[in-house]
Symmetry: C2
Subunit: 350 residues, 2 copies
DNA sequence: TTGAAAGCGCTAACAA
DNA sequence: TTGTTAGCGCTTTCAA
């Protein structure tokens, strides 16, 4: 159904052989400039686009990348997709997607059958699949190049990218401390996600640096869901010693905290400061809007793709950056602490 | 890189010709049952998967469908994607995606170059692209089969699917009336989206049916954004005669209304009922959670794909349903009207 | 009902 | 530096 112009048409218009056209198309050496120009002119005149299927068939390539994800955060996924697509298009690759459920019994079976059924040149894994050993082994055994976004364990002979979650969580905690908070609670994310640990680490690091003892009563286990945010908030806010700030490791949970605060008539931010993570739409659409951390999701997708393509082409990818920085997004849910400080800080606060 | 077993291996194992294998694979007639079984057994034994590229090259098919979208609602898009993927996989099609910006100058240019550059058997259009005349003409001129989700104008010789937006808006308005509200404001969506008009129609239809005059002061132009929801809410809630209920034609805008209500110290739902549309995550994660309308997005994607595939295969698609029903999702943002009714209803309210 | 041969559009190997 | 030929894995003639 598509353009019927083939490489042969171009060849005859440019008065060269098909192989020469092919050479020009693929930037192969050993073609005189004059030839190149003649071919390029013909390509342009005919609006010729090489047929990827034929190309792929011959070269045992498909120019298709596969994104496998199991993630309930649509904002994140769509943004990653966009990054992958943009880089892919730049290099002539298309994207195929496989949403799946990482808690499913037959996850591996499903991924296997997908990988066998439709050819692709490489695979991109997002959290929490980036750390799924079975999937990684599957890819290794099938010799399919892959790249991982935000894996916990980055040791591998495959590329990965990630954002500096620990630093971002550190920065956020430091920001809360700078607002005068010392009783800062933390709601952890799902234990299956590697960022959960990194964010917790950043939180503890900041407290530590300012001489605040991490109070275990202030650290609760969430699961990245709204409900788990509510649940943890209820626990935190019914303790005898209540935190003056709650840092939830994603926005969903922060929104849950906000809901509970309202139900308990705790005004935000006057009586309680809330911070989230991810800068998803909900963080902007609740009131007060939630102070949060913005990951460079688009760039992560793009960079992961660039590395993957380099890996596929046996080019170097080690020189490309691996860790990108996050930004704090300051909104209304965080304000200076109004409570009388219960603790003396070891260091002056910025 | 993929499985190296070819149709030839299957043929020699089953002791038949390649053509016979091909026939069995494609369910062609004129193959004896015994043969079919022999071939199928060999296929299974070798775990043979036909190479789609070779298949496509020969048959001038790609088994790839393209979803083109320009939509800021990630929940919607991801859900549609899932529906398309599931149906596609059932019928052996893969999905390719092209996010774009429908307000961009060079939208058509971009879409054109994409369609020319990568082969696909069919295209799926979501709002607001479903009504983009230029894109439709482009597809027609290139003879690319397409299907549209929720187009305003469904007249075409191409398939479409949609949800009964008018009825859903009617149902929601009726629900608000049944709670005793008569001063019900409506925030319209983006004028480029066809559902905007249908939702308005449903709203007016319900008012009309219950003898409530549609007060033009109560109908505001929004743009499906949070900010436009805020803006309209501010207008509505600063008028001398204030509505007791606001029906925003999507959740984003409803969240904007909720924010303004809180800022103005109007408690929801006690003093103001709010309803949204779309059942996106934000409607669940604000407090109070927003009463809204749930479209069968996944099913729309699936059905649209089924129809498209039938169209591609020159099968009948007219017999498949086109319009699916929506559901009301009742949450805490709507409650019985506490204001003294300012109007007398023409009919008894349910 | 089955099979042999040709060829989809491109690139790798070889030849000129 | 350029061109010729074969063939990737499959399906479509056409013949048996």
């Amino acid at each position: 159904m598509n353009s019927k112009i083939t490489i042969r048409d171009v060849a005859s218009l440019a008065n060269v052989s098909v192989k020469t056209v092919s050479r020009v198309l693929n930037n192969e050496p050993n073609v005189r400039i004059a030839m190149q120009e003649r071919v390029n002119a013909a390509v342009k005149e005919l609006n010729f686009k090489p047929n990827p299927q034929a190309r792929g068939l011959r070269g045992n390539k498909s120019f298709i990348l596969t994104l496998i994800y199991s993630n309930p955060n649509p904002d994140y996924i769509l943004e990653v997709q966009k990054g992958i697509l943009d880089q892919g298009h730049e290099d002539g690759y298309n994207l195929q997607i496989l949403p799946c459920d990482h808690t499913s019994e037959n996850l591996i079976e499903m991924v296997t059958s997908f990988l066998e059924g439709s050819p692709q040149d490489g695979v991109i894994l997002t959290l929490p699949l980036s750390d799924n050993q079975q999937i990684i082994e599957l890819l290794e055994s099938k010799n399919i190049p892959y790249t991982r976004i935000s894996p916990l364990n980055s040791e591998s002979n495959s590329p990965f990218v990630g954002s500096d979650d620990q630093k971002a969580a550190y920065d956020m905690t430091r920001h809360l401390i700078s607002l005068g908070h010392t009783d800062i609670a933390f709601i952890k994310g799902h234990p299956d996600h590697s960022d959960t640990h990194k964010r917790l680490l950043g939180y503890k690091q900041a407290l530590n640096e300012y001489g605040i003892n991490a109070n275990e009563q202030f650290i609760k286990q969430g699961y990245f869901t709204f409900e788990s945010g509510e649940y943890c908030a209820r626990q935190l806010l019914s303790q005898p010693i209540k935190p003056t700030a709650i840092f939830a490791s994603n926005d969903c949970m922060a929104a849950g905290v906000l809901k509970v605060s309202k139900q308990l008539n705790i005004s935000v931010p006057a009586m309680l400061t809330i911070a989230g993570y991810d800068d998803t739409s909900v963080s902007q659409q609740v009131w007060p809007a939630i102070t949060t951390v913005k990951q460079p999701i688009y760039q992560l997708g793009k960079l992961a793709t660039k590395k993957l393509i380099n890996k596929i082409k046996s080019l170097d990818y080690e020189k490309l950056p691996s860790i990108l920085e996050c930004d704090l997004v300051l909104r209304e849910s965080a304000s200076p602490c109004s409570a009388i400080p219960r603790r003396i800080l070891a260091h002056e606060v910025i």
